[in-house]
């Protein structure tokens, strides 16, 4: 589907490559027909949770109240940098996707919520919105269809939690980014209390393709329940790290050797975090036997997540790595729910002791216990996002943690 076409950031190039044809086609369809196409395509939310996009759109009530479409571009998950690439290379595909989504759900207003650190990207999007407006793709009576749509760019202030959709809404409203209790879901009561759809950048960028080629054709890419292509942002000591668009269902082995070129000289694969830092880690062996799609990864106890793939070599101490993750999640916990607020700090403190050879034997079980006590007991999944790595790291690499308690880690040599 060529989300990453080169030089498409320019409106002229985008149009030469067939840009905004999907929008034109959309206006010949009824909104319900578009939702139906998206449902048929099997497109699932690319932000991490993988919720079926068409279904999400269909939850919007058919009333005449104000509705909103929000593009979630708060890409902050450690290891994930795919949305940034789309903004750089193909910003109009996101804008086109947003307008189509707005038309499909009856929203006349869109918000482009972009991560605070993405200063350059915010400028790109603002410029693209300006271009689209000048060309008549945004504003009043778009392409004489009678449909009005406008997009406002909102920049975040650097909080990871604002990627959670309800915290994001709070942030747009000018409040502290703290997730809301659900239900009510945003589809019923979202931004400013109005029905709202929040979609990831990559999800929205896939919409024009689906409209042009039809949902059925899109669903032919990939495997049964994981249709289409997915961007993977690969970091770690592989020969060719970067952002890749692959058809879902590709085997990790093929991806690893044929696309990424395998490990760098002198490095050996130890483990993989397949979908951003909050998903459970898998060992090299598990990785080599799995395919990259929602179901296959779920089967082995991890998740596709955002596609932020972190390749971990044997030379990396897992205790050190987990400590970095724990520090991140502790720092980013909004502090609303008790288990996450207190548990994240407690895990970081305990891991710090383990890392620095100051821990007692029971501390290893303690962090697993804390993680279990945090899991599933909070408003948003940030607690789980820390608990899952902790549990999987300790479970799969227990000997490394034990060596830190005994005081003889051969890897980090601290």
């Amino acid at each position: 589907m060529n989300i990453l076409l080169n030089d498409n950031f320019d409106l002229k190039t985008y149009i030469t490559n067939g840009g905004y044809n999907a929008l034109k086609k959309s206006f010949t369809l009824k909104p319900e027909e578009i939702i139906e196409e998206v449902k048929k395509s099997g497109l699932r939310g690319r932000g991490g949770a993988g919720f079926p996009t068409g279904l999400k759109w269909s939850f919007i009530p058919k009333t005449k109240t104000q509705k909103y479409i929000v593009c979630n571009s708060d890409e902050s998950e450690p290891g994930t940098f795919k949305d940034r690439e789309i903004i750089h290379k193909n910003p109009h595909s996101i804008i086109e996707g947003m307008i189509i989504a707005g038309y499909a759900i009856g929203a006349t207003k869109g918000y482009f919520y972009i991560r605070g650190e993405f200063a350059r990207e915010a400028r790109i999007i603002e410029k693209s919105i300006y271009e689209a407006k000048e060309a008549g793709y945004l504003g009043k009576n778009i392409l004489k269809s009678g449909f009005d749509f406008d997009i406002t760019v909102v920049r975040g202030a650097g909080a990871y939690i604002c990627g959670e959709e309800t915290a994001l809404l709070e942030s747009i409203e000018g409040k502290q980014g703290k997730p809301r209790i659900k239900p009510p879901f945003p589809a019923v009561k979202g931004l400013y209390g109005c029905p709202t759809v929040i979609n990831n950048v990559e999800t929205l960028a896939s919409v024009p393709y689906i409209v042009i080629y039809g949902g059925e054709n899109y669903s032919k890419i990939g495997v049964e329940k994981s249709s289409g292509t997915k961007l993977f942002s690969v970091s770690g000591p592989v020969k060719k790290p970067g952002v890749y668009e692959i058809p879902l269902g590709l085997s990790f082995k093929t991806f690893f050797y044929d696309w990424l070129g395998g490990m760098k000289e002198g490095e050996e694969l130890k483990a993989v975090i397949p979908g951003g830092s909050s998903v459970p880690v898998i060992t090299a062996e598990e990785a080599m036997n799995t395919k990259l799609d929602y179901e296959s990864l779920q089967k082995i106890g991890t998740m596709l997540g955002s596609g932020g793939m972190i390749i971990i070599p044997k030379s990396q101490c897992m205790v050190e790595l987990l400590y970095v993750l724990a520090r991140f999640y502790h720092h980013e916990s909004c502090g609303q729910c008790t288990p996450c607020r207190e548990g994240s700090g407690w895990i970081e403190k305990t891991l710090n002791k383990i890392l620095n050879y100051k821990a007692k034997k029971q501390d290893l079980d303690l962090i697993v216990d804390i993680s279990n006590n945090m899991m599933g007991r909070t408003i948003c999944p940030l607690a789980d996002a820390l608990a899952m790595p902790v549990i999987s790291f300790v479970q799969k690499f227990r000997e490394e943690f034990e060596s830190h308690i005994e005081g003889n880690c051969k890897i980090c040599g601290k």
């Binding site: 909080a159 502290q176 209790i181 502790h330 720092h331 980013e332 916990s333 909004c334 502090g335 609303q336 729910c337 008790t338 288990p339 607020r341 207190e342 548990g343 994240s344 700090g345 407690w346 403190k349 303690l366 006590n373 599933g376 007991r377 909070t378 408003i379």
Partner: protein, 484 residues
């Protein structure tokens, strides 16, 4: 009406009712910190987690609305474990302050710990997070951020009830702390309610701090007389001393009380409390004072002097009628005065009434019934009996007055030391026309007397023995409502 099963028993719930409310209505208590019936739902403390069949995760009872056929468990091992875990998290960074904390005895942390926790701490003392302590946050409050469990009841109170929004959560994660938005102080008219709703010892009342342990206090239900709203209150006292006033939440008048009303108990034991009556600038014990007063009245009556009586919006129905009786039946004077009708309305949209007297709705009715003149008509008199606060406002020569007073005032020649309504009963009609009674919570100083008893004693000295029935007949003539 959805039917639900909680812990094996079937209950009928109201539409859109939460699990917590249905359970509570039927006598099943679910522990909570952030939930407060008068505030919006925050759902952050996670203490009220319950198990609901067909839902994979535990759900918070405070925010989950019931649906027909829902099966809820509040006492399973899974639920108890969750409560224990949440409690462990809450106590993780909580200081070991209990011996010096004012909340002891009404602390949710302590209470639930005894019920669900009873676990040894798994964190080293030196690893606990430190936060600001003993912050002077406002006129009436001290804030200890270390004790705070961040339930946000206080933040929501200031946003939703007083709409002053002084408080917010500063910072994030386990470094979050309640802070004040501006450099100004937390100084709204209802700030002490925050000390009440704070489930732990984070907000404490400057007035009450370190005075008495709450488990030693007894509670007496009464009403606040600071304005015509007439809020229901609980007066808490021990060993004849009042320590604090709390609201007695009810659907009719008030959920909260104002800070001013909360401080009204100070009249009972302030340094200027009048404990002995003064007649002709001399202090007397009660019996002697009554006889001296009788002598003055008798002499005035014999000399045909003009004796005026003031009814008072500050005094109870019984006291006012006894005063009227004394004037009309005994002293045979028609110089009886009352204040004119007052405008009554809630001036701040919450509780504080424009009419700052507690009983004008009763007194104005008595005035109408008995054709009593207004204060403004009082031109000239030789002797005047009335309540101190009214006399103060009326500009009457102080040597001509006999003031019924709680307060000592050297400018008066004659002051009768009367009981406050914390020390004696009295009936009042509030601005909604509810008839309510004060109840004595502490005993009055020995040489004080209620206005009613004083009038009775004087009547007796004049040789009249009014029957109680005669004095109570006024209640048949007044218009009022009762709560049930």
């Amino acid at each position: 009406m959805p039917k639900v099963i909680i812990d094996g028993k079937e209950f009928i719930a109201k539409e859109n009712e939460t699990v917590l409310n249905v359970a509570e209505r039927n006598g099943i208590y679910i522990p909570r910190y952030c939930y407060h019936p008068a505030l919006s739902i925050a759902g952050n403390c996670r203490m009220c987690l319950v198990e609901i069949e067909k839902m994979p995760k535990l759900q918070i009872a405070c925010a989950t609305t019931v649906t027909d056929g829902m099966v809820i468990h509040t006492q399973t091992e899974k639920v108890k474990k969750a409560r224990q875990d949440v409690l462990e998290f809450l106590l993780l960074n909580h200081p070991l302050d209990c011996p010096i904390c004012d909340q002891v005895g009404e602390c949710y942390l302590q209470d639930y710990y005894m019920e669900y926790g009873l676990k040894k701490s798994r964190i080293d003392l030196k690893d606990k997070n430190r936060k600001p302590k003993r912050r002077d946050i406002g006129k009436h409050l001290i804030l200890d951020n270390e004790r705070c469990i961040l339930c946000t009841r206080c933040v929501r109170f200031c946003e939703e009830v007083t709409k002053t929004s002084e408080l917010f959560i500063n910072s994030r994660g386990d470094h979050s702390f309640i802070d004040i938005k501006t450099e100004e102080k937390l100084d709204n008219d209802y700030s002490l309610n925050i000390a009440d709703i704070c489930p732990v010892g984070a907000f404490t009342s400057k007035d009450f701090r370190f005075k008495e342990r709450v488990y030693r206090l007894s509670s007496t239900s009464s009403i606040c007389l600071s304005c015509a709203t007439g809020c229901k209150i609980k007066v808490q006292h021990n060993n004849g001393k009042i320590y604090r006033i709390l609201p007695d939440p009810n659907i009719y008048t008030n959920t909260w009380i104002c800070d001013n009303g909360r401080m009204s108990y100070k009249i009972t034991a302030g340094p200027d409390r009048l404990t002995k009556s003064i007649i002709k600038s001399e202090e007397h014990h009660l019996n002697k004072a009554i006889i001296k007063l009788f002598d003055i009245l008798k002499e005035a009556k014999e000399k045909n002097l003009k004796i005026a009586i003031l009814l008072s919006d500050y005094l109870s129905i019984e006291d006012n009628f006894a005063l009227y009786y004394l004037g009309f039946e005994i002293l045979k004077t028609d110089l009886i005065y009352a204040s004119k009708e007052k405008e009554q309305k809630i001036e701040d949209g919450i509780l504080i009434n424009k009419d700052k007297t507690p009983n004008s709705n009763a007194v104005s009715q008595i005035s109408k019934l008995y054709g009593i003149k207004k204060y403004e008509d009082l031109k000239d008199c030789d002797l005047l009996i009335g309540f101190y606060d009214d006399i103060e406002k009326l500009n009457i020569p102080k040597n001509k007055s006999v003031a019924l007073s709680y307060k000592a005032d050297k400018e008066y020649d004659n002051l009768i030391a009367i009981k406050t309504y914390f020390e004696t009963e009295g009936s009042f009609i509030n601005w909604q026309y509810f008839l309510r009674k004060t109840a004595p919570s502490v005993s009055a100083p020995t040489d004080t007397i209620s206005v009613y008893d004083l009038c009775l004693k004087i009547s007796e000295l004049f040789g009249y023995y009014p029957k109680e029935k005669e004095l109570n007949k006024i209640f048949n003539e007044l218009k009022y409502k009762t709560e049930d």
